[in-house]
């Protein structure tokens, strides 16, 4: 089944100087508080993070519920905002797929793909032999996912004590964590260019379409970075 040695090696990624736990917890505490204000029960809040585990998706769900959007509109809005998970999955899974491993592991563990777990895996996969990477990944995923679920509960319970100043502090933590992770990921020309161009072109597209700016901006920036990198030997 799952090799415990590699699972726990991955699980331990939430400890130490590179820990995503604080950033993850900060944003899911805010989600917990938000879901409570929307009238969710604590069980429904847990269920939501358990099943979705993608921050922007949960935010869009909350916004859509506030304006009373239809189910089909909620589906489309969430799909659009979480469509970035598609290139992320395609850029991760080929590193993990091994013929000795059963397929169900990949279809189940893709649920763990979120920005923090993805960045951690991309940063560490090379030190694990290919055959064991999927178990290592399941360890990372389980750890980050558990932090998110726990933090949702904490946020739900503590929501009465969370004022606007604290919410603002919580809101900056996640982008800061992601920014630092991206900076340390900039090791090749292609990745460096992708990150810099994405951060410039993405917001520029915001003026054309706030909904599509991330996908359009990301597509143009990534494609330019790819061709420039290929031409200059990555």
């Amino acid at each position: 089944m799952i090799d415990k040695k590699y699972f726990f090696k991955g699980f331990k990624s939430i400890k130490g100087v590179g820990s995503p736990a604080i950033a993850l917890a900060a944003s899911f505490v805010a989600i917990g508080a938000l879901l409570k204000s929307l009238g969710f029960t604590v069980q429904e809040s847990i269920f939501s993070t358990f099943l979705t585990y993608a921050l922007p998706g949960s935010l869009v769900m909350a916004e859509s519920m506030l304006i009373g959007a239809s189910l089909i509109n909620i589906f489309l809005a969430v799909w659009l905002v979480n469509a970035r998970l598609y290139p992320m999955t395609v850029a991760l899974m080929p590193l993990l797929i091994h013929e000795n491993q059963p397929r169900w592991k990949y279809y189940l563990s893709c649920h763990f793909i979120a920005v923090s777990s993805w960045l951690i895996m991309k940063d560490n996969y090379e030190v694990i032999e290919k055959e064991n990477r999927i178990d290592f990944w399941i360890g990372i995923g389980t750890a980050t996912w558990s932090v998110a679920i726990l933090a949702t509960v904490v946020g739900y319970i503590a929501s009465d004590f969370i004022n606007e100043d604290i919410l603002i502090g919580l809101a900056i933590i996640n982008p800061i964590y992601f920014t630092c992770m991206m900076l340390s990921a900039m090791k090749t020309t292609q990745i460096t260019l992708s990150v810099i161009l994405g951060a410039i072109i993405g917001p520029m597209f915001y003026f054309l379409s706030p909904e599509w700016c991330i996908l359009f901006g990301g597509f143009f920036a990534g494609t330019i970075a790819f061709f420039v990198g290929e031409k200059n030997g990555k």
Partner: protein, 107 residues
Amino acid sequence: MANNIIIVIIVTSLATYLSRFLGVISAEKIKETSKIFRWFNCLAYSTLAALIARMIIFPSGSLNEVDYFIRFIVVFLAIVIFYLTRKNLVYPTIFSGIILSLFNFYL
């Protein structure tokens, strides 16, 4: 609330899982040494960078109430701390949260 909460949660999770699921299906046919893999790698990083930049420049939630200038100072200081602490991720994240709360409270 027009819709049942449980159904909304399930719809949200299906819409999210769809991209992950299609990603695995596509990944089955892609080798990690191929050009298309490198292209998707670029797309993933650039899309993430776009998302993060948007979260900071055009935030949707409470960050919106904080002045641009303050947001940029906090991001800049956090990056400086990140490099000063030899790429420790815990210090800049905690620092940014506390400092922004204080800025917002006192300014």
